[in-house]
């Protein structure tokens, strides 16, 4: 059975294990009383009753994968800090803005105490002495809920000095941004938190775990990653790894948007649920709207190379999706049905990345803008054949070499595994080319049709006709 809660817009519950969404059914899930009445802060109590190292070991053996995009195991990341360098900081990445992604905002609005508890467990286990919780600037309600929850938690003795009467003391400082997608990249997040323009730093040498906030070892973790920790501490490693697969244990929050019957945010079992389950399953999206056929889908946020129906049976598992030419990224699936105007749809993503370039690297700053301008000319029916060649040439100067794409029998393509090579500091540059590359590779004829006609095609809304 599926049910959706009006107070949690978009969230659709089901008969599945709930690790991070267990309180969403309550209207007052964000209040400390509800939180405590439903097992809240028990994970923290359990952690504090044991040596910090064993808590860290548990997170490692549970293989809690990062939910922010890269899928790196949290316990391993915490262990990458240099020996005996203090202080170390925790920076929580609540900047959610990857196209298609909607989950961290729900977790902050609906269960802020769960996130706070997760932050505390991480600080305790990894010896982090101050936590900065960075929320995207445009998320007014998330900021209010987390501020209120922190105020409650400080008063009740869960955050601050001598937490629960122990020698564990840590401040959690709410910080908020002011509108810039690239700030979600962890080194840009740190720059922004230092009061600077949010431009990514060159890695190496600036891997945050070694050299992050104020030059100190810094752990950057995603909101959903940390929200997993209270359940893990309360229920134990075996219970956690009993859900999902060995390489992808637990659950994941996935947002499915676009042309499906029931777009929504679902907490799914990790590693086994397939894209077909998600898009067509009755307990999930219930198929394509108006009985249409699927044309393509973006499997892991706007930066991910596109899939078609050929890849529907792949499970939600990082290494398999990577080998098939894309990535799971931030748990965001965008579905396009057969009515979709593909070049126009690709343009909405390329425009996004071109617009969000911080301007530090020439291939991204110039290349992204070129891609956007050329593609928009093509979409407007004013393009030439040379434009298509130029799109590819510009793209290859941002990401030289074989570009990841899925296999496609009809087109005689074999998969080129993700990730890609790049000439830029961060993934924003390549991401501007991803939609162009996927769309051109899979739907070349739609571009050719735009060009041979040489007429003005008026685009009002992408794929809205039905």
């Amino acid at each position: 059975m599926t049910s959706s809660y009006l107070h949690a817009p978009g969230f659709i519950a089901g008969d599945r294990p709930k690790i991070v969404t267990s309180r969403f059914e309550y209207v007052d899930s964000y209040k400390i009383d509800r939180f405590i009445a439903t097992g809240g802060y028990q994970g923290l109590r359990s952690a504090l009753s044991r040596p910090a190292q064993t808590v860290h070991d548990d997170v490692k053996s549970a293989t809690v994968l990062g939910r922010g995009g890269a899928g790196f195991p949290a316990g391993v990341k915490w262990g990458l800090t240099p020996q005996e360098v203090w202080p170390r900081y925790l920076v929580v990445n609540g900047d959610e803005s990857e196209p298609g992604t909607y989950k961290d905002r729900l977790l902050m609005e609906r269960d802020p105490h769960q996130l706070i508890e997760g932050c505390l467990i991480a600080c305790y286990a990894a010896g982090l002495s101050q936590c900065f919780l960075y929320i995207r600037g445009e998320m007014a309600v998330a900021q209010e809920r987390v501020a209120e929850a922190l105020n409650e938690a400080y008063e009740a003795g869960y955050v601050g000095k001598n937490i629960l009467g122990t020698n564990f003391s840590v401040d959690i400082v709410l910080h908020w941004g002011a509108g810039a997608y690239v700030v979600g990249e962890e080194t840009a997040l740190i720059e922004s938190l230092e009061g600077n323009r949010g431009m990514p730093r060159l890695k190496p040498p600036f891997f945050p775990a070694a050299n992050g906030l104020y030059g100190q070892p810094t752990i950057v973790n995603n909101v959903e990653t940390l929200a997993n920790l209270p359940w893990l501490m309360t229920n134990g490693v075996d219970a956690y790894t009993a859900i999902g697969t060995k390489t992808s244990p637990g659950t994941r929050m996935v947002a499915v948007s676009g042309h499906v019957v029931r777009p929504g945010v679902y907490e799914i079992v990790n590693g086994t649920t397939t894209f077909r389950d998600l898009i067509y399953g009755e307990e999930f999206c219930g198929g394509i709207r108006n009985g249409h056929a699927l044309k393509a889908f973006v499997p892991g946020g706007g930066s991910a190379p596109w899939f078609t129906s050929d890849q529907l049976d792949l499970p939600f598992e990082g290494s398999q999706v990577g080998a098939a030419g894309s990535m799971l990224g931030s748990g965001a699936i965008m579905v396009m049905d057969e009515t979709t105007d593909i070049p126009a749809a690709a343009l909405t993503l390329t425009r996004f990345y071109a617009h969000e370039s911080c301007g530090k690297c020439t291939p991204c700053r110039e290349g992204g803008t070129w891609l956007e301008r050329i593609l928009s000319r093509v979409v407007d029916g004013k393009g030439t054949d040379a434009d298509l060649a130029q799109l590819i040439e510009v793209g290859e100067s941002i990401c030289p070499g074989d570009f990841p794409h899925a296999s496609n029998e009809a087109l005689g393509l074999t998969a080129v595994p993700f990730p890609y090579k790049m000439t830029t500091i961060c993934f924003v540059g390549p991401s501007a080319y991803v939609p162009v590359h996927s769309a051109l590779t899979l739907f070349r004829s739609e571009f050719d049709a735009r060009i041979t006609k040489r007429t003005m095609i008026k685009v009002t809304a992408v794929g809205v006709s039905s």
Binding site: P99, G100, R105, G137, Y154, E155, V173, S257, M334, M336
Partner: protein
């Protein structure tokens, strides 16, 4: 016009006091200035520079990176219509077109009465609720052009003031760390030892 008021200076100092380095407070303080005046004035940037100990040029450098900061007056209600993929697939261009007609301005413009500024926005983390928009960073989901008309009527008649504060105020709740509960900050160079709880257990 317009340095921070005394009440905002007190708040600014409280915020600065939470960071090991004062400059970290820049973005929150710029929000405070925008909350006070509706946009960021020159004098506010000079004042913020004095408060955190950087030049006003540095304040300006940081401020101009972020899209939410405005350097000229904008409408009381800033309407941001999302145009990224999920919303575009569900009809955001039509919605934007309708908004432009209804308000009589193009995206980026402000109505002559100073009530509305219309902006094209990028993904707002509400993709399953497409097409969506934000008014002063408060959401409206799955909008039809008729819904948009109703929203503009309500805003014009000031029927939503309880939910949507004037442009500049984002969150209406602030964090306060009670002095008896806060750990307080230490400059990183003064910390040489591992935190106490790492040696053995926390002793609950």
């Amino acid at each position: 016009m317009s340095r921070l008021t005394d009440a905002h200076v007190a708040l600014a100092n409280e915020i600065i006091g939470r960071y090991p380095r004062p400059k970290s407070a820049l973005v929150p303080l710029l929000h405070l200035a925008q909350e006070q005046d509706g946009y960021i004035t020159r004098d506010a940037m000079v004042h913020i520079g004095e408060l955190v100990g950087v030049t006003s040029a540095e304040v300006y450098g940081t401020a101009t990176f972020y899209e939410m900061f405005k350097f000229e007056p904008v409408g009381k209600y800033v309407v941001n219509i999302c145009g990224t993929m999920s919303c575009a697939l569900m009809g955001s261009e039509e919605l934007m077109h309708h908004a432009e007609q209804r308000l009589g301005i193009k995206a980026g413009g402000t109505t002559p009465d100073g009530m509305f500024t219309l902006e094209h926005a990028e993904c707002q983390a509400a993709c399953t609720e497409a097409p969506c928009l934000q008014v002063n960073y408060r959401y409206r989901y799955r909008l039809t052009p008729a819904d948009l008309d109703e929203l503009i009527d309500d805003l014009s008649a000031e029927r939503l003031t309880h939910e949507i504060p004037p442009h500049g105020t984002v969150a209406k709740v602030r964090q306060h760390i009670p002095s008896h509960r806060g750990v307080g900050v230490v400059a990183p160079e003064l910390v040489t030892e591992s935190p106490a709880w790492l040696n053995g257990k926390a002793a609950l």
